[in-house]
């Protein structure tokens, strides 16, 4: 047996600090690396990149990095959906797990300088967009108007609400919320997320705007249709894709769609690219 230098499959040990319940089945896990050097290296990630999370003895899964690199904390927001995410949900503060990354292309934030940013998210689709949104807010003067249109099934399914309200107050961005089904406590908009675009008092600039869309496939299709109708060009609509992944580094082949390995060539693609990848969404 011999050692494997620069092992791309070797996770670093991470320690869970605290867990915050977001919505049903979705929790945020704050963590740090055991090795401070690994922590420092990892902190150079870009908005939109992702990491491979290992629960030892169970498996590994790809997870978006919701924090902006301008934030102090590292955390994942993960829905309990399969065996490994369930094992992550069962961890307690102080428990150790594995992380490797960051991987993927991330959002080309420099390209958006001087542009308006329009975020359109559905349900847990806000998780992969959060990094980009908060990065833009932390560099507020580089960008024009920043808007978030966010929809979920009900009030109980809206995520990061506390942070969103706080940012809306303090940092100069518009946040519009909607739910598919209202309950007694809901006084806001009811309907699909793109219905917000036409609400009185809402102006969505089209010229010089980049739109970020992330959500379930059906929401994605309708929002894209509406954005195109409004005059958005394919290359000004950006999304981040998720796929079954085993390696995160362009080797295992599971996430390869059309001409792209989502892990290495993505996960951030423009709609113009997505259209030509074939077999997406």
């Amino acid at each position: 047996m011999q050692p494997v230098p620069d092992n791309i499959y070797l996770p670093q040990i991470a320690i869970l600090d605290r867990v915050v319940e977001e919505i049903a089945e979705v929790k945020t896990f704050y963590w740090h690396f055991e090795d401070p050097e690994a922590q420092a290296a990892f902190k150079r990630f870009l908005p939109g990149q992702f990491a491979q999370v290992s629960i030892f003895g169970v498996g590994e899964f790809p997870a978006s990095l919701p924090p902006s690199p301008t934030e102090a904390d590292l955390f994942f927001t993960v829905r309990k959906v399969g065996s490994v995410t369930a094992a992550l949900h069962a961890l307690n503060p102080g428990d150790r797990f594995g992380v490797r990354g960051p991987y993927g292309n991330g959002f080309p934030m420099r390209d958006y300088s001087g542009r308006n940013l329009l975020f359109v998210a559905g349900g847990i689709g806000l998780i992969p967009l959060r990094s980009c949104l908060n990065y833009a807010l932390d560099n507020r003067d580089r960008y024009g108007m920043i808007q978030l249109f966010y929809g979920a099934r009900g009030l109980k399914d809206l995520m990061y609400l506390g942070a969103l309200r706080e940012w809306e107050m303090a940092r100069g961005f518009e946040c519009h919320l909607t739910v598919d089904r209202a309950d007694d406590q809901w006084t806001g908009n009811v309907g699909v997320v793109s219905s917000l675009f036409k609400k009185p008092g809402v102006t969505v600039p089209v010229a010089n705007t980049t739109a970020f869309v992330c959500g379930p496939p059906i929401m994605f299709r309708f929002v894209i249709r509406d954005l195109i109708e409004m005059g958005f060009k394919d290359q000004d609509i950006v999304s981040t894709l998720e796929r079954y992944m085993k390696c995160g580094v362009g080797k295992c082949g599971h996430c390869c769609i059309g001409l792209a390995y989502v892990c290495a060539d993505g996960p951030v693609f423009t709609y113009g690219q997505i259209k030509h990848l074939g077999e997406v969404i």
Binding site: M1, Q2, P3, V4, P5, D6, N7, I8, Y9, L10, P11, I13, F56, G57, V58, G59, E60, F61, V81, G82, S83, V84, T85, R96, G98, E242, R243, Y244, K246, C247, V249, G250, K251, C252, G253, H254, C255, C256, I257, G258, L259, A264, E279, V280, I281
Partner: protein, 359 residues
């Protein structure tokens, strides 16, 4: 490239020399009928290492990419202990055919190239010494399904070997393709060749090239059709409907690279994380946790493999076609949609529809 000549009678001496130099020597052996297989050369079988042999059904891919390979050994504790090591003996394959040599070169470009270098693959590859034997016996070496002429990988590999052996009759012509290969020429079994040897080599190759049998695979019009999106959905469906989704083509392919990763229990607190060959024809290949499968339509999935191998973007990206003309997929496929058949179906249907459009 340097070349030397040796007596055919010294073939066994060459094998023994390799056995002395390496931890293990692998060679193709004849089983029953035309069945052949790669196996370790031992004291008992060393005299049976053939010069001419039908290419084994299973490719030598497993010597650089084992079907199951441990990536990590995990000991669970309050602080988990993670160990990574690779078992990569110094190994020679003697008798690897030209198509399989090209296959390993393709794997090199995939696993060692681009942004991430696979350390496990690199360790196996670094310790691997390839003695390529040129297919010069049309009756024994060349199968009905061989089409290396179309893939431009044979019958004599031009590169990517350490030594190349060619049967000239009573003598063997040995070409060195690497510095380590050339170092072996110090052995007294080798002597300098003459221009007559090289002329004989040319004559033999010219003859062998005329002795290929039934399979052909004229890739390039198919590459063009796939790259430009000219293949009709009905054609993909026709191909897909013949697929039994067994995954055999991927497992037999010397260039297929996909793997899955899973955790296996070794003891109460011990686990290993292994990677296992995987195949894109299988239904669960793209299924995500929670059950959503973005590649649901069966023909999507079934034709994924051909798209990945024949789209020009990938050929350019790896600087080689992920098909080396070994013919194994033709042999393994129950639906008769090996690479040559698919190339032919796409070529015909796109030509026919272009013809119909002109009429």
């Amino acid at each position: 490239m340097r070349a030397r000549v040796m007596d055919k009678a010294h073939w066994l001496a060459l094998i023994d020399r390799l056995r002395a130099d390496f931890d293990e020597v692998i060679a193709p052996f004849a089983g029953r009928g035309r069945d052949t297989y790669f196996d370790r050369v031992t004291d008992a079988n060393r005299a049976r290492v053939p010069l001419h042999v039908p290419n084994p059904y299973y490719p030598p891919k497993r010597y650089v990419l084992p079907p199951i390979e441990r990536l990590l050994q995990i000991h669970l504790n309050s602080t988990p202990r993670i160990q990574a090591a690779v078992d990569a003996p110094r190994r020679a394959i003697v008798g690897i055919r030209s198509c399989d040599t090209a296959g390993i070169d393709h794997l090199d470009r995939f696993y060692l190239g681009r942004d991430f270098r696979d350390g496990y693959y690199a360790a196996h590859r670094q310790n691997l010494f390839l003695v390529n034997v040129v297919c010069t016996d049309p009756e024994v070496d060349i199968d009905d399904d061989c089409f290396c002429m179309c893939a431009d990988t044979g019958p004599a590999a031009r590169e990517h070997f350490d030594l190349q052996v060619m049967d000239l009759g009573d003598e063997l012509l040995v070409v060195a393709g690497s510095v380590t290969g050339e170092a072996l020429f110090a052995d007294p079994i080798f002597r300098k060749g003459t221009p007559a040897h090289l002329a004989r080599r040319r004559d033999i190759l010219a003859h062998v090239r005329t002795r290929f049998k039934v399979s052909t695979s004229w890739y390039w019009s198919t590459v063009k059709a796939i790259t430009l999106g000219e293949v009709a959905d009905s054609t993909w469906e026709r191909i897909g409907n013949r697929c039994l989704e067994c995954g055999g083509c991927s497992y037999m392919c010397p260039t297929c690279t996909c793997f899955t990763v899973t955790e296996r229990r070794l003891g109460p607190d011990d686990f290993e994380r292994v990677r296992i060959w995987d195949a894109c024809a299988l239904g669960g290949f793209t299924r995500m946790a929670g059950g959503f499968n973005p590649r649901r339509a069966a023909h999507d999935r079934r034709n994924r493999r051909f798209f990945r191998k024949l789209a020009h973007y990938f050929i350019q990206r790896e600087l080689s076609v992920a098909c080396v003309g070994c013919g194994r997929c033709v042999e393994v496929c129950h639906g008769d949609i090996g690479m040559p058949q698919v190339v032919e179906i796409v070529r015909r249907t796109t030509a026919e529809s272009a013809h119909a459009a002109r009429a």
